[in-house]
Amino acid sequence: MSGFLSRGFMGRRRTPEELRDRLPPGQYFESGFPVLTAGPTPQIDTSEWGFRIDGMVRRERELTWDEFHELPFETVPCDIHCVTKWSKLGTNFGGVSVDRLLEGVEPQGDFVMEFSYGGYTTNVPLADLTGGKAWVVTQHEGEPLPREHGGPARMLVPHLYFWKSAKWVAGLRVMDHDEPGFWEQNGYHNHGDPWKEERYWTD
């Protein structure tokens, strides 16, 4: 690390002591929930919503909104970290774990492309989505997920930077090889671990 000091900088927005070790390097504590989206916000009615798991799988799976809500629903307390530097600590989402969604699917590849209504994609290794690490969520703080935050349903992969949690998610495509998604083609890191500060291609 360089020994550079910013003349006259003392730091103002100190994180509360008890939260400090939950803040990855280069992140700051944000109590709001900023919105970041590359294009216009899609509108998807829950009557038309469907969630699909396809690609290299033994059995494809497709769920309607009602079928999705018959699956075991969990409340997920978590911290989320956006690559634009804010972190939101101690927030709660409600949804279904990817482990449950993959039951009976039998993935035949190690890589996944999350895909969304509106065309967004982001790639994640299957191992980062299984074992209680990822969910498809339809609620935030007990309320239906607002459209601007990805409603009716978004991915939640809280241990990676938040662009890996696709908004308006439409499904998961299992692949036998890795492929960059939308931001991964546009300068952002292929994996995106906030604790390793994997922000950009060259990190």
Binding site: S2, S6, G8, G11, Y28, G32, G39, G118, G187, W201
Partner: protein, 246 residues
């Protein structure tokens, strides 16, 4: 840079490694409005950016505490060896107030970039730029670059500001820019007032091509709706929402 013709549309960002932190020198500070200043930085490891790209800035306190933020580049990549960052002062922030209250010409700041290649202009035409408040900053990089490379290319800026004193780059707004004042227009103003609406978008005279929209979330939501109504295809509407970035 290439001379004469427009620089190659796909820039070297794909081949080079922009990621390293470097210590830039502030060579000029220009107050734009009471709460916005532009900082011209000289970079030892400069590389050309795509108009619309951003840099990360990192501040380090004596006890090792660090704060990072991202700021859009406002200048054209034709300004060899330097970049301009235009920074809106957020009262509850810690990086923007530092720039406004502490940084002087001659100071050094740590930066790295340029980053991201989605909200960028690669020479597409025609182009509609729609900015709210300090959302005009990355759009100004696009406008400035077009003026210096291919001024005949069809590009209009629609710019929404609160009052006359909030206009950033006031001396550079030419007849390719349409301004609307949402709170207090300057005395004698005969142009648009109020929020951006379909008549203002229509006056820009573009109904297809690529649109770049930047501003607060609410601004971007309503502006992108208007741009879609005007006939732009959703996949040609690129947005950037300024979250809290203090």
């Amino acid at each position: 840079m290439t001379s004469g013709a427009f620089p190659t549309p796909v820039t070297p960002v794909e081949q080079r490694a922009p990621g390293r932190w470097q210590i830039a020198t502030v060579t000029r500070i220009k107050p734009e409005t009471p709460r916005v200043k532009s900082f011209r930085l000289e970079l030892p490891m400069w590389m050309p950016h795509l108009p619309g790209q951003h840099y990360d800035v990192r501040l380090t306190a004596p006890d090792g505490y660090r704060a990072q933020r991202s700021y859009s580049v406002a200048s054209s990549p034709l300004d060899h060896g330097e970049i301009e960052l235009t920074i809106d002062r957020l009262d509850d922030g810690e990086v923007s107030p530092y720039f406004h209250e502490v940084v002087m010409e001659g100071d050094q700041v740590e930066v790295r970039g340029p980053f991201a290649s989605y909200f960028v202009w690669r020479g597409e035409a025609p182009v509609l730029l729609v900015g709210g408040g300090s959302g005009v900053v990355p759009l100004m990089a696009i406008l400035r670059h077009r003026r210096r490379t291919m001024p005949e290319l069809e590009m209009r800026l629609v710019y929404s500001v609160r009052s006359a004193e909030d206009v950033i780059y006031a001396d550079e707004l030419d007849d390719d820019a349409l301004v609307t004042f949402t709170r207090e227009p300057p005395p004698g103003w005969r142009g648009h007032t109020g929020r951006i609406d379909s008549s203002l978008i229509a006056e820009a005279g573009l109904d297809s091509g690529t649109a770049f929209i930047c501003g607060s979330n609410g601004f971007v939501e309503s502006a992108s709706g208007l741009v879609l109504e005007a006939g732009f295809r959703p996949e040609r509407v690129r947005t950037e929402r300024f979250g809290p970035s203090g």
